[in-house]
């Protein structure tokens, strides 16, 4: 009896050590982040100002808002590559409908279509159990086509830019804070609460962590997966409102490539693509790191695209660090 207890204790200690190393690996990202901030602020006076910080968060708000929904999909064990196309579609739709049926109708109708597309994704992946990578890849192409058909290849814009309250979402301020930032952080707060404190969130983690065990426990995998795609469509639609309102117009391919930047932020935050782990807070840190890298490099006078090179290295290093800490070895052992 005492043997088993000491074994459990040592087991506990071993897992505690593992926990610390994992914590360190995760904080490694934060350490790198802080280092970035320090270096940037040494070389640029403007970097460490409140103004600049607000600008960075504001710039991150569109990608961040989409990333909230995508994080939920990924925790549920799937991918969503269609969000970039969906962003184009929703932005074009809301901007174009604005002048035709007014802002309220435009937002309402756009939401309906966004959720419809989310439902198609969810049905194919949740109920028909098709591979999410290929399905959302196909949807990426299809939604892009639908957007082009809808616009006839033209860009759209809002004529009366001064006299509409629609401008509020992208350009307005509330209590001195930019509305996009409020929407982004507000949605993030709600989503984090739902994931961490509700039965719904727990079910998403279970289904993503081990779909078979979830089903064997009486949960409905198909229904949960379906709902995660509705959520990612919803947050993408919210991002489209911010984007359309800020630009007061839209190119028909405005969201091209967003799916990758969103995914980069999610991965950087440490959400595993295998599902079952992750958090909105960490995704936000991931998105903000990318945004700060962009901002810092620009302030230091590097070309705009230099940030993508840094992103490349940061993503791989971050995931590597995470894997290496669970593996206990820096490199894989097979040859």
């Amino acid at each position: 009896m005492s043997d088993t207890i000491s074994e459990i204790k040592s087991g506990g200690e071993a897992s505690l050590a593992k926990k610390y190393s994992q914590l360190l690996a995760r904080q490694g990202i934060l350490v790198a982040f802080v280092l970035f901030l320090v270096v940037f602020s040494i070389f640029s006076d403007r970097f460490l100002s409140t103004d600049n910080f607000m600008t960075v968060i504001r710039q991150a708000s569109i990608i961040g808002t989409i990333a909230i929904g995508v994080t939920i999909v990924v925790i549920g064990g799937n991918l969503d590559l269609s969000v970039g196309s969906l962003l184009s579609f929703c932005t074009v739709l809301v901007v174009d409908l604005h002048d035709k049926i007014g802002p309220t109708g435009a937002i309402g109708l756009m939401l309906v279509f966004a959720l419809l597309i989310g439902a198609i994704n969810g049905y194919l992946i949740g109920y028909l159990k098709l591979n999410s990578l290929i399905v959302t890849l196909g949807m990426l192409s299809a939604i892009q086509g639908i957007t082009l058909i809808y616009t006839g290849g033209q860009n759209v814009d809002i004529q009366n830019q001064e006299g509409t309250w629609f401008a509020f979402f992208g350009r307005g301020y509330l209590w001195g804070i930019a509305v996009p930032v409020l929407i982004f952080l507000g949605l993030a707060l709600i989503a984090e609460f739902v994931l961490k404190a509700t039965t719904y969130g727990r079910k998403v983690f279970s289904v993503g962590g081990n779909p078979a065990a979830a089903v064997f426990s009486g949960l409905r995998r198909n229904r949960m997966v379906f709902s995660t795609y509705l959520l990612s469509a919803f947050t993408t639609a919210c991002a489209a409102i911010i984007l359309g309102s800020r630009v007061m117009g839209s190119q028909n391919n405005v969201g091209q490539g967003y799916e990758l930047l969103v995914l980069a932020g999610v991965i950087l935050g440490g959400t595993s693509l295998l599902g079952g782990s992750g958090s909105i807070t960490r995704t936000i840190i991931g998105v903000l790191i990318l945004s700060f890298i962009q901002n810092g490099l620009l302030l230091l006078g590097y070309p705009y695209y230099a940030q993508w090179l840094v992103t490349w290295a940061v993503i791989i290093l971050a995931v590597w660090l995470d894997i290496a800490s669970t593996r206990g070895k820096i490199f894989t052992s097979f040859s």
Binding site: L130, I134, S141, Q144, L263, L273, Y305, W308, V319
Partner: protein
């Protein structure tokens, strides 16, 4: 004759994409005048050669159980290098540098996948963003134009009445088919993708093997970049955007599994040609290109659905 019919039958069963290709040919030849022209077929081959070349290399990587999302960006880098450098070091050297860039980036991707154990999807997603950044930094967002007319001439040239690019694609497809189906490396590609642990246990050096396949993938992406820039006589930093998606679509249509271990060059060829014919046929029918995007997306999902229905074993399957 019997064996030929037998072969055709097994081709249809194992690679239904060829049935789809045949159906497309029948439909388009009945509904348009010029579809069946020899000239049009040459056109289709030239048009599909870019995605086709990418897909040849990517098929190896995907049968291996990996994926490479960076091929579109690699294509752009190789094209820009080959076009930009030719004024200073001449066409042959510039093209060599372009192709080498693909091989080197492939090796880098492969090494990272092997040594770090990070999933190829994440590694190459990073590379896709990073290499594209490299292209923009290198080009300073400018397009390059081929100064030597011989370069662009190559893109439109023909050998014995067959467009050179089409010929190049077909010859390389045959070569890659041979390697995959007849060589030790090719056979081990299936072993590594189909059961990695068994391959390791059998003493196959899985790491270097995967690196070689990533290098092959990088080489073909770069080659596609060079041939595409000869067709245009120019290279732009945005070249090859979304090409990785088209190549993956073609490969999946051709029956290669995302999980690895199964697939073939013949299937990939079918997938590439199916996309080419669809685009060409709808073009002749004057279907707006926008609709093509919708149709392609729908077909991709439909094929996935049909494949699952055909291959599922209903009795063994649980209601999960």
């Amino acid at each position: 004759m019997a064996t030929l019919a037998h072969k055709a039958k097994s081709l249809v069963i194992e690679q239904p994409i060829w049935l789809f290709v045949a159906a497309c040919i029948v439909v388009f030849s009945l509904s348009t005048e010029h579809f069946l022209d020899i000239g049009n077929f040459k056109n289709i081959l030239v048009q599909t050669s870019t995605i086709g070349l990418i897909a040849l290399g990517l098929t190896f990587i995907m049968i291996n159980g990996n994926i490479d999302l960076s091929v579109g960006a690699v294509l752009a880098l190789a094209a820009c290098l080959a076009v930009d450098l030719q004024s200073s070091i001449g066409i042959p050297l510039a093209v060599t540098v372009g192709l080498l860039s693909g091989v080197v980036l492939g090796a880098l991707n492969g090494l990272v996948v092997w040594k770090t154990g990070v999933d190829a999807f994440i590694v190459t997603l990073g590379a896709m963003i990073g290499v594209r950044g490299l292209v923009f930094v290198y080009t300073e967002e400018q397009s390059f134009y081929a100064t030597d007319f011989a370069y662009a001439d190559f893109g439109t040239s023909s050998i014995a009445g067959i467009p050179t690019l089409a010929l190049l694609f077909v010859v390389l497809a045959a070569l890659m088919h041979w390697i995959l189906s007849r060589s030790v490396h090719g056979r081990n590609t299936y072993a590594v993708g189909g059961n990695r642990q068994a391959a390791i246990d059998a003493g196959i050096r899985v790491g270097p093997h995967m690196v070689i396949n990533f290098m092959i993938g990088g080489f073909f992406a770069a080659l596609a970049g060079v041939t595409l820039s000869t067709q245009m006589g120019a290279a732009t930093p945005n070249l090859g955007r979304d090409f990785e998606l088209w190549a993956i679509t073609a490969i999946v249509l051709g029956g290669t599994k995302l999980t690895g271990g199964a697939g073939s060059i013949v299937g990939t060829l079918g997938g590439v040609i199916a996309i080419g014919i669809l685009r060409n046929g709808m073009n002749l029918l004057q279907v707006p290109s926008f609709y093509v995007l919708v149709i392609m997306g729908t077909i991709l999902i439909a094929v996935l659905f049909i494949d699952r229905q055909v291959n599922r074993n209903a009795e063994q399957e649980l209601n999960v």
